[in-house]
Symmetry: C2
Subunit: 196 residues, 2 copies
């Protein structure tokens, strides 16, 4: 056997990315072999190298795409002219919703950064910083408007993001609370934390 009937790169390519994401998230990057990914896709290991130069590039592509999506999605949704309080509320709800929708890759982008080369690590960190800055700008604006009372906007940024991302570690669909209720409760805590 060689080429399979009905095989197309537009199908196999995304399939590889999807299976890699699923397996990396479930077992960890280092614990997943190229052969496992290939088996999940339904090809031999060698075929993966038509789609990625190496294993690390596969991980990097997943993380890079995710960060690009995250930033683009937020910028598309961020209320431009609104006051800081409204923008902060939007950010909180956006972050929880977006991250819960992509739990696998979010998990990956927190756990598997150290498996990237120094160069690729720096790229992802840069994008993360870009995203964090979006929140910090809101906090600074609120501080300037006099509606927030924040001792340190940098720390508040890190604290809020850690708090919101933490939802992914415990939230289970069909549990005691719906996503909307969780978002409401977290927004209440964040609003109070910034003194608004």
């Amino acid at each position: 056997m060689a080429r399979k009937t009905g095989s197309h790169s537009e199908i196999t390519g995304p399939k590889i990315r999807a299976e890699a994401q699923r397996l990396f998230a479930r077992h960890g990057f280092a614990a997943v072999s190229m052969r496992q990914i290939a088996a999940a896709v339904g090809v031999q290991a060698g075929a993966l190298y038509l789609y990625t130069p190496d294993k690390e590039a596969l991980l990097f592509d997943l993380l890079k795409s995710h960060m690009d999506d995250l930033i683009a999605a937020w910028r598309a949704e961020a209320p431009e002219g609104a006051d800081a309080l409204a923008r902060l509320e939007r950010f909180v709800r956006f972050h929880i919703r977006f991250n819960l929708e992509r739990a696998e890759v979010v998990f990956l982008s927190y756990m598997e950064l150290r498996n990237l080369s120094e160069e690729n690590f720096a790229k992802i960190e840069g994008l993360r910083k870009t995203y964090e800055t979006e929140l910090e700008e809101i906090l600074k604006a609120g501080q300037a408007e006099g509606v927030f009372l924040i001792p340190d906007t940098k720390l508040a940024t890190m604290a809020i993001i850690a708090m919101l991302t933490g939802v992914n570690t415990w939230f289970r669909e069909g549990g005691r609370l719906s996503r909307a209720m969780v978002a409401d409760i977290y927004w209440d805590m964040v609003r109070k934390a910034v003194g608004a």
Copy 2:
């Protein structure tokens, strides 16, 4: 060569645990080989098996000891008769301090849980739950006293712990803020978040 001059299990044993902790934290459990650990200790790989039945047990021992230490340290430090606000402040400062002092194993206990067997995973999760309950009891007490205004004590517990543990991801010794200043700022945010 066989036994080395000056070799003693009371020295080699802890050394293995220390090097394993360092390497696991730096490169990830799956990415570190028994030979690497042995080389860092200064023995051959086979010697490690005088101290651990297998690689996973090495990881489990590190995590188990850490969780035991964490819970014991908090119980030793928790103010028994105090009011909820004072107990919460103590918890916040304790958690930040204790976790910053043991950054490596804290990192491990968040990243490498999935490398444990189901059985060992459950044990660590149980200890984590025990620790979280200590915080939730404080929040419930404060709610009962009427000094806290918390929409959901379970969520508040998760939110606060995620927020506090997040300090480990960005804090660097000799940076803009000292540990004490960080603790002050986080306590301010937590206090506000619970409505006190």
